[in-house]
Symmetry: C2
Subunit: 520 residues, 2 copies
């Protein structure tokens, strides 16, 4: 990375071959500003936006991250603003003829001796929090469950001090949906696997209405009999339409009674020392700006590599944000089979978007563009960097559960809430979220570490952003510095020694299911 200037006009160029760079200064720079290397702006350029480092002819390729992010719609002089309107987006890369598992990196040096204090589960997974989850088959039960949760929080939780929280897994699925349509397996397995998130201690408490399409036995085919009979002396399933329920309070009481048994079990658990390899970290970005791809995301990528070297699992996602960098990912696949699975997920999403009359260009938001991200190609390059440089060892279809440790591509839409929900289903126990424009995003089930891309955001949102990667732009900190800071912070939060800001304020967003099938 080539940094020019000090407190004075400053730009960042990522790769030596790039013919554009990003203006770093707060508030942008006016026409006439001169950088340390003599480059002078011929017009004003906003912060995070691109300046031409050379005279660009009409049709010239625009290079950032060493990649063509578009073509000049008109001639742009050296020192000119390479704005969104002046850039034509390249075609989406085809899905055949890609390099398949061609980049066989030498194995990275293992990182040993890092541990955290976690909750070991019967299935071998490790929780970072000790939470009672109440699963639901259908939206119909939400009102009753919310009553029960409020009472559990007030009346029961204080009696079980080793339990961190109670969380209702509410959602809009379960009935009024085409449950046998192609694609319906996605929301169903998502709900199934979320209930098995490591932070929920491995047993299911399920509230059903009774007449819904998503019957308990369909949601949990393996545990259906146990649920009905009530495993371990507990009633694991409460069905509101059962004859025994006379009056609203009897429904709430049934949930309370089942919750009490589960809380007593969860309360017996204690944190124990676990190797860092038990971490399952889902990474994503939201509210991105041009700094996402040069500060926060590279730092997350560095931490990803540290985690993978420590034997942990890192998931990256957001299909429309990697689609334009697919060649980079298939090359990094550990095997041709993994590369094929990447192609399969890209193709499946291409089809999904096409059925709905959209394409990958639907991804970028007004905030992205205002922040200097001209199009999805540029956004993709800055997004993929979160994954670091490890080989990709596996690919999950939306809603699937993790099978392997290491760097995994978990295919999900880029929507912050759907991505987070699907990573919960995959089994993450820590979430890392980078943002440039700022979002108060949080999840009830898993700690969310928020990383700011800019000093200004970190300053204004001082009690919402956990890590500030802004120093990377000004030269106050290196990518390595912030990467290590994040790695260590993850271990602290995972151990329960620190709480993220989202946890402190109890900020959390609702689950949002990905349902490619129709509603009815």
């Amino acid at each position: 990375m080539n940094r020019q200037g000090g407190a004075a006009p400053l730009y960042i160029r990522i790769s030596p071959q790039d013919n554009v760079a990003i203006v770093v200064n707060d508030g942008g720079l006016p026409a006439g500003a001169v950088f340390a290397d003599g480059l002078a702006l011929v017009e004003g350029v906003p912060q995070g936006h691109k300046v031409a480092l050379a005279d660009l002819e009409e049709g010239a390729p625009i290079l950032r991250y060493g990649t063509v992010i578009g073509y000049a719609r008109q001639a742009i002089p050296r020192g000119g603003w390479v704005s969104e309107a002046r850039l034509r987006m390249p075609e989406a890369p085809l899905l055949d003829g890609l390099p398949m598992a061609t980049r066989q990196a030498p194995p990275a040096e293992p990182l040993q001796g890092y541990t955290f204090m976690g909750y070991r589960n019967p299935d071998g997974s490790v929780g970072t929090r000790n939470i009672l989850a109440i699963s639901t088959t259908v939206q119909c039960v939400a009102g009753v469950v919310e009553h029960a949760v409020a009472r559990i929080r007030q009346e029961l939780l204080p009696l079980y001090p080793h339990v961190d929280d109670v969380v209702a897994l509410e959602h809009a699925y379960g009935c009024g949906v085409a449950i046998d349509a192609p694609g319906a397996q996605v929301p169903i397995r998502t709900l199934r696997n979320i209930s098995r998130n490591p932070n929920f201690g491995g047993a299911v408490l399920l509230v059903s209405l009774g007449c819904e399409k998503l019957q308990p036995a369909r949601l949990f085919p393996d545990e259906a009999a146990a649920l009905e009979s009530g495993g371990q002396g507990a009633r694991g399933l409460v069905r509101l339409q059962d004859d025994e329920h006379v009056g609203f309070q009897s429904m709430v009481d049934s949930i309370m009674e089942s919750a009490r048994v589960r809380l007593a079990q969860l309360d017996q658990r204690r944190r124990e020392s676990c190797p860092a390899s038990e971490l399952v970290v889902g990474v994503q970005c939201g509210g991105s700006d041009a700094f996402s791809g040069i500060t926060a995301n590279p730092a997350v990528g560095y931490a990803s590599d540290l985690l993978v070297r420590a034997g942990a699992t890192v998931m990256f996602s957001e299909i429309t944000e990697v689609r334009d960098g697919i060649a980079q990912l298939t090359a990094r696949a550990a095997t041709p089979e993994v590369a094929q699975a990447l192609v399969r997920e890209m193709d499946s999403y291409d089809q999904y978007l096409k059925r709905g009359g959209a394409d990958r260009s639907a991804n970028t938001s007004p905030g992205n563009k205002k922040g200097g991200l001209s199009n999805i190609v540029e956004k993709a390059m800055g997004s993929i960097v979160k994954s670091g440089s490890s080989p990709i060892v596996d690919v999950l279809a939306p809603g699937e559960k993790l099978r392997r440790k290491g760097l995994v591509y978990a295919a999900t839409p880029a929507s912050d809430f759907i991505c987070g929900t699907l990573q919960l289903a995959a089994g993450m126990n820590m979430h890392v979220f980078t943002t440039g424009r700022g979002t108060p995003y949080g999840l009830a089930a898993v700690p969310v570490v928020k990383v700011a891309t800019r000093d200004d955001l970190a300053r204004r949102w001082h009690d919402l952003m956990d890590i500030n990667a802004g120093g990377i732009a000004s030269g106050r900190a290196s990518i390595e510095d912030v990467g290590w800071e994040l790695f260590r912070y993850i271990l602290e939060v995972a151990s329960g020694r620190k709480k993220t800001w989202a946890e402190q304020w109890k900020l959390h967003n609702s689950l949002a299911l990905f349902n490619p099938a129709p509603v009815t």
Copy 2:
């Protein structure tokens, strides 16, 4: 309707030409049971299920509501159980060659002198509750808004005794969606029109993040300038990413400050006497059984006719539940244009389901089938009856706002939550919901009157069901009796003199948007 028997074996036949009837007795009836007319069961038939009134040959049409609901897959003897497995579903009716506005009913006698106490709005609509709504552009702001709502409820609401409640209009839309795809206008106009529901008093308080795709000016193009400047001395728009927000609490404080201004305005309002013609009643069913179509839904249909005669607006919906009765609806359309609009909405939904690899058969749930509803044709006949017998004067596409009084078909999916959300957007100020299996359904914005189809449900769910239509099956009450009871109850609840059970318990389900476009 032909009723046979007393406390003894009892069945209900709807139309004289029907060759099946419904077993009414609690717990069903065993083989050998004999009805008053001499019909003897040759096998057990569960409650709500169909008994053959004549010997049916293989392939014979099965008639209920005077309509073919299917064909016998095998010979069924008189007194046999016409179970789901023994019935073959007919083809969906084609959408051409339908009778268009052919049934010109004589104008019904106006019903005069009925009033309720409501809140008149500047736009001429009338609210049944006086609620502060906080609109949101995007899920990202939900955590902050929830904090603000909790504080508003605790700190501000007690100071404004004439305001009933504060409601956050949270949803999963706003970013991470293909906002320019065909179909995206549905969720956008839904959110826009919900903010204008008559129960919210006519002014918008909007919380935006800042970088989301669904910008305030796109959500409210007409009010964008006023929102930004802050109408009536109030800041109508709070944008979390604005520079003025330093720290989490400053975001909550901004929302509180805007809320205070709105609350002071709302608190000035008083109920006044309004004609019943200002009622806007949305009707739907959920958790249906075979009694829905013979007790609760006919009673709702009777009340619908009373409301329409009083000049009010009644909306019915649930596309997949009327699709098989489309000929009945096009015939009842007031004009050929209205009939055409019905066809347009059916066709559009046919296409939507087809794109997703589903069809209308995806509607029926396990609870429907257990309750005796064999298929969507049978369910449709029992569902349409909620609309009574008035001419259909208008058709709304999903998310549109009402334009006319009278009986309106508001096209929505049958999903309880999506249907309720779209009827809120259309402008309903009262909701009527019939259920046979039972659901604790409720909405935060509008009172939901729940009507039970059976005595048993009304008894067990005595503090969740507002009206019991079960007496219609046993002969204790007539359809007219329950229809009038419901009509009068609606006026009481609309006036704020009574609260529904869902209101008493503060039971409410989340908004659920219909988004036929892809997520990204």
